[in-house]
């Protein structure tokens, strides 16, 4: 989902940066407040960030014949709310943009918006919806993490289609093209991410039931699996 450095027109690059900026500030404030109120959550927040570090470094082959990587932000979004993942996504994307020439500074805003805003919000929203409908915890976690991951790549496709509409078919033709590259490739990887997130939540429920109870999204129905 990394839009390469310089590959968004200036107006789009600035627009997406402005769109992401309030989420970064809001996210930092949310993380700081949580750590002040519940310092015992520090380790779990570290685990959620680390999960994103690992998953976004793994480029996996997919059925379309190209490779892509999961984002790993779904786990943290479920545990700490979507805002907490904005600073984490920012660190990951900045590291890759500065040292790896993967993504870029000019496209940081757009990439941040897809990976650290849309993905986590979709994941947390679906999780809440699933729990409200009474679905089992593992199912909710899987759906939330997998579709959150997919939502990130759909967003990237929309961003690129908006910036580069097809000369003949316009936005829709362009969206089909970028969607074919990003979103279709991502389907098996999104399933993998969903499964891995379930694995971590299973482990959390087994070894850290006390901490899970302190987390907003899990609190309502307890941490029973």
């Amino acid at each position: 989902m990394h839009i390469m450095e310089g590959f968004l027109p200036v107006e789009h690059a600035i627009g997406w940066s402005l769109a992401s900026l309030p989420f970064v500030a809001w996210g930092l404030r949310s993380v700081r407040r949580r750590l002040r109120e519940q310092p015992e959550q520090r380790m779990l927040l570290g685990v959620a960030a680390a999960f994103s570090f690992v998953l976004s470094a793994l480029k996996l082959p997919s059925l379309t014949g190209s490779s892509s990587h999961p984002t790993g932000v779904g786990l943290g979004a479920l545990l700490f709310g979507p805002l907490a993942m904005v600073p984490v996504g920012f660190v990951v994307l900045l590291f890759q943009a500065l040292l790896l020439a993967h993504g870029g500074l000019s496209t940081l805003g757009a990439n941040l918006f897809s990976m650290a805003v849309v993905g986590p919000f979709v994941a947390a929203g679906l999780f809440r919806l699933g729990r409200r409908c009474g679905l089992p915890l593992a199912g909710c976690v899987f759906i939330a993490a997998a579709l959150g991951d997919l939502a990130t790549y759909l967003t990237t496709s929309i961003q690129l289609a908006w910036a580069f509409p097809d000369p003949a078919g316009g936005f829709i033709a362009s969206l089909a093209k970028f969607g074919g590259i990003f979103a279709i490739t991502q389907i098996p990887l999104a399933i993998s991410e969903g499964l891995l997130t379930v694995l971590v939540v299973n482990t959390l429920a087994r070894f850290n039931p006390e901490e899970l109870k302190g987390l907003a999204l899990f609190a309502r129905r307890g941490a029973r699996v």
Binding site: M1, H2, I3, M4, E5, G6, F7, P9, V10, M43, G46, V47, A49, A50, F51, S52, F53, V54, A57, L58, L60, P61, S62, L63, T64, G65, S66, S67, V92, F95, Q96, A97, L98, L99, L100, A101, G104, L105, S106, A138, L160, F164, P165, D166, P167, K177, F178, I181, Q186, P188, I191, S192, L195, L196, V198, N202, T203, R206, F207, V225
Partner: protein, 116 residues
Amino acid sequence: MKKQNWLILLAVVLLTVLPLWLVPQLGIGVVSGPDGQASELFRGADDKAQRAIGEIAPDYKPWFAPLLAPASAEVASLLFALQAAFGAGVIGYWLGCAVTRDKLRRESQDKEAHAD
């Protein structure tokens, strides 16, 4: 629970390994490049998108270049490995702590039970 975790791991491995075998078998994704030769399989989707931009808007020129680019693909893989290793280290530390704490808690509960 244990069994479910193993099945999950197995499914993830299969999801990753199967494309490596299936894609060349079914001939998906073999797009011939501009030079007429089949392009490399399993290129990054980011690269493909970059190429698609070139097709849609051939006149588009990137207006900003990366400040630092890894000296080679090997150096890039070093940095990606570092990123993953850092994350895996943190997760491993947490797992070790959590398992040990759980064990100690259980032992102390056993002791209390015996004391009664």
